[in-house]
Symmetry: C2
Subunit: 309 residues, 2 copies
């Protein structure tokens, strides 16, 4: 069945999601604060429309924004869409947000007769464009049913984690804390190894086959080995996501000391101008401190002035 | 070719190694400070002998002890074997030790005409018994050649990391710091998830398929889910191994903040009487602090008196 589906936020994830929805044959509306992104999507076959007016026509809206504040603004801000959406339509909310925020959004959507799927996503831009995301989803059976055509078009794996909002966001927070720590720890171990004569390429070859491996190690270590910090996922994602995790932890009186230290490493990277680089650039925090040259670096990097930790 | 091979240290790893060497058809001598272990191995087909006298006959000795001090005692203590070993025989040293220590042992073995392979092992007791260990090895070509029959009998994968001692131990240190941190981080994330309603079984099912996964998460999380703290690898391994890592790091002026915090979690576990439990018991540090009942626990565990962090 051909539906009218909106994707809000045409960043690297959202754009790929919109392409996947379009490819599945739906009337697909892409919305972004950057007009050029929206125009580009229309030129590829997207439907024309502007928010919030277009929202009245949509069967489903996938909200692919950066954080809770942006999500709330899209849904319930001055030009929020939920008040315009038709009864029985569904909001599919993909940002990493606190579980309590997801529960609040669900409640407010239900008050307008709109379904809400708490649906944080995982997989990166390439998987988004392929329609192969992992989605950590929770919501009512009706929310899942309404979202199904969109999930079918965009996700390879949908984890159904419960019948109300919050569970999806909780699992995403758990995943992000592990993912962020594993990136920083990969950097810590790789640079430690360099002080002992273990070269980065050898590190990856051996450790990826041993008990010290992680998904993130196998995925991010090659970026350092290639000296390629083109942001597939940027350093600045992690102060945001680990910050959310620690905010939740504080509310629960939970001490997460390893996560706290990993956050500090990303903050140091960000405060030294690496925020827009690939998150593997957290290795530079360790490298600068120990005067190590990472692959592709030279002595001007090793002795970079003004480096501040 | 049938050789005479000694295995020193018949703990969970060493016993399996000795069995694998025996199965490969060599005259195999097992030595241990616990006479019952040695007698048990003889009853399974091991050869009879005592150290250091037997050392004169051996073509290779695999030293599977806990740490550098025990290794040095075996090799060069009052009843050390190296002075007794024949020229051209080889010591295969498997403990996790500082790279400088391995280099020193190599030098002293060479002074006696004995080859030395720096050969830390990975894989656990089950793999040891199957002859399927991973070995992170470095040493001279002659040391590798002399060790080959033993490695063939015990290892599935031999990483050849360099032509002198130290490189093997360096890679092992890198692997251990990752492995230890990943265990503690798995515990941190699983218990954090519990505060948000994510049950341990669901944690494992979802995260093991997502970017937050690690080899250790997939291996150790089941121990917590099963409430089974029978030590496959004990908590007390980690203060030792992460301590070695941080000693090396200090010598290199390298700050390893994530490793340091993970060490603290294992020390807290150990100082609260969990040292002999499976290392997944580090989850109890988090659980006690947040008054969570792990699988198999009840309220007397949650409110255990005298818990000290």
């Amino acid at each position: 069945m051909k539906l009218k589906i909106g994707v809000v936020g045409l960043g690297s994830m959202g754009y790929g999601i919109a392409q996947s929805v379009l490819r599945a044959g739906h009337d697909t509306y892409g919305f972004d604060v950057v007009p050029e992104q929206q125009a580009r999507f229309i030129s590829e076959g997207g439907s024309e429309g502007i928010l919030p007016d277009t929202a009245t026509m949509l069967d489903a809206v996938m909200v692919v924004v950066l954080n809770a504040a942006q999500c709330e603004h899209i849904l319930f801000g001055d030009t929020g869409i939920v008040g315009k959406m038709k009864a029985g339509s569904v909001v599919i909310a993909c940002a990493t947000v606190p579980p309590d925020f997801a529960r609040d959004m669900e409640k407010r959507c239900h008050a307008s007769g709109v379904h809400y799927l708490d649906a944080p996503i995982s997989g990166g831009a390439a998987k988004a464009a392929q329609g192969c995301l992992s989605v950590m989803a929770s919501g009512t059976p009706l929310a899942f049913a309404a979202a199904k055509p969109v999930l079918d078009a965009t996700a390879e794996t949908v984890f159904e984690l419960g019948d109300s909002a919050g569970a999806g966001s909780a699992m995403k927070a758990v995943n992000q804390m592990l993912a962020g720590v594993h990136i920083a720890m990969m950097a810590e171990a790789m640079t430690f190894g360099m002080t002992q004569g273990v070269q980065p390429q050898q590190f990856l070859e051996v450790i990826s086959k041993c008990a010290g491996s992680s998904w993130m190690l196998e995925n991010r270590a090659p970026h350092i080995i290639d000296g390629d910090y083109t942001p597939r996922s940027s350093v600045d994602i992690w102060p945001k996501d680990l910050g959310i995790v620690l905010d939740i932890a504080k509310t629960a009186n939970f001490d997460a000391p390893i996560t706290s230290v990993a956050l500090k490493q990303f903050l140091t990277a960000s405060s030294n101008g690496l925020g827009k680089e690939d998150d593997a650039a957290v290795a530079k925090v360790y490298a600068r401190q120990s005067k190590l040259a990472l692959p592709g670096e030279d002595s001007s990097d090793v002795h970079a002035p003004g480096w501040d930790d």
